[in-house]
Symmetry: C2
Subunit: 322 residues, 2 copies
């Protein structure tokens, strides 16, 4: 199979085809038009075998996560995902792998309204980069620097499940068998909060997706907004699987520092509490109030437990080049 036919066979007409796409896969570049009242959001993320996923992870799981982590960046900006380009570096041409990968990518891309408009296939150690592009109404965006003094801090769904799943896979932790599947799904098949992000455009003051861990990511919001954020540890939303992990000797650290959650953390004025609860109900996405912004203090993030200052030892989040 030549490079040309890989792109042709597996990447052409993948996802939801948009009328705004004027040139698709198969030329030197794709061409898209951005409606006059919109701007474009752009982000790129890479996954490397042995770093972001175990050797032997299924092609479908890899495809799911590659798109999900990029969709999550669109969610964090409040953008509507529209287009993607992909750079696939593959050790060999495994047709079954490629078929499974592209089937999953296609299915999820269609679900989220994304069209694949370009790709490059090269030989080498398994490495996948996806560049995602989305649209936002002009003048709107959820950035990291918009939090105001005395805003509430929220997080969607629950925290730390992917980190606990990793501990379980690494044999570092026990959980009861009945929770295993839900935990592994959190790790392998995260659900990006794309609809929530768009709905937060007129509600939140700042937003970020939790890819490196709640503390590491909220620290960006705090620093870029020039505030301190206080987090009440007992307010962190934990899944029943995570609660089972705690019952088996685990602690709350994974919920604070575990990466790969792909939930949204956001700030909003106190007067929006009611609107946010309505939004949670409408989208059927739990939104938990876990803290607030305060005037800038010694640390970007300060933890309390039952209102009493709480110290956490160790790293704040997953970093590749520590």
């Amino acid at each position: 199979v030549s490079e040309f036919s890989i792109i042709d066979r597996y990447c052409r007409d993948l996802g939801r085809l948009h009328p705004e796409t004027q040139v698709r896969v198969g030329d030197d570049a794709a061409i898209v038009s951005v409606p006059d009242n919109m701007v474009m959001a752009v982000s790129i993320d890479t996954m490397v075998e042995g770093v972001h996923f175990f050797k032997g992870t299924s092609a479908a799981d890899i495809a799911h996560k590659l798109l999900a982590v990029n969709l999550s960046d669109m969610a964090a900006m409040g953008a509507i995902p529209k287009w993607a380009t992909i750079a696939l570096t593959l050790p060999d041409t495994d047709e079954n792998w490629l078929a499974e990968f592209s089937d999953q990518l296609s299915s999820q891309a269609s679900d989220f309204g994304v069209e694949l408009i370009g790709g490059d296939t090269t030989r080498g150690p398994l490495t996948l980069s996806l560049n995602i592009m989305g649209l936002l109404p002009k003048g709107k965006a959820l950035t990291r620097n918009g939090a105001k003094l005395n805003d509430d801090v929220y997080v969607s769904n629950s925290l730390g499940d992917a980190a606990v799943a990793l501990k379980v896979l690494n044999g570092q932790s026990m959980i009861d068998d009945r929770h295993r599947e839900a935990l592994l799904a959190a790790l392998h098949r995260p659900v990006p909060q794309v609809e929530l992000g768009q709905q937060l455009l007129n509600v939140a003051s700042a937003c970020i997706d939790i890819s490196d861990g709640l503390l590491a990511d909220l620290e960006h919001v705090a620093r870029q907004s020039n505030l301190t954020i206080t987090i009440e540890v007992d307010a962190l939303p934990l899944s029943v699987a995570y609660q089972n992990f705690i019952a088996n000797g685990g602690d709350v650290v994974s919920a604070l520092t575990g990466g790969d959650d792909y939930q949204l953390a956001f700030t909003a004025p106190v007067k929006r509490r009611h609107v946010i609860m309505e939004l949670a109900a409408k989208l059927n996405v739990p939104l938990s109030r876990i803290g607030q912004t305060v005037a800038r203090q010694g640390h970007a993030i300060e933890l309390t437990r039952n209102g009493i200052p709480f110290q956490l030892d160790g790293v704040k989040g997953y970093q590749h080049f520590v």
Copy 2:
């Protein structure tokens, strides 16, 4: 050095900052606005150590080529390059390497009016992907499918120098020492024909950049335009270094099938010959008429030498997954 500070230190405010950029490096996604009368061209290309460049290639040479091959895709569409995102997978954090890489990237990006608006840094085998975005006037583009019957076929500058340089580096070929530097520059520091591409928007009927070799790339134009292209082998533009390669026993095959040239091949109506010669003079870029389009025949590409059919054995161009 953490992942965050790599992006911060080496990728922030890199290149030519555009007023159309509303959110730069440092948020979940960048935000750019596309002027109302323009559309966006998008392309992604990857380079892998040991596949696209030798282990030990300088960081500056890698940076140059990574951006150049992507700029060449913009050139082939006639687009004005504007923005890029980068995915860097690095085996370790070598500050000297990163400084050399980003200095070169920054310098070339500024020269070509490109702003780096996003990046992802991961640990792994040296692999670099760059996603480039450019602008085109609405309704204009140089695609591969626009060639018409009896169009002329042109190519910019000269062909095959990068392929001969590779032969020399691999010890498969001899050239006189005085040509070595020019050949290696063709391989390591290709000059993308960005200005030529933009000037061809109202002149050429189809265009492609020669990354996989003249024959392989023109075959895309022929097939997508549903024509056959005839090439007169003796009309191929060859550099003095290439002529020296022939004098030392080389042949014309590298000019026909060698990859990595990053020249533009394009078709244009016969009535444009005068305009094209004026354009060559204005830009100081030699443009050689090497063939023409004919009605669809048995092959997409047919070669002649002094007007007599000419057969070439072997592959048409470089393919990663042959």
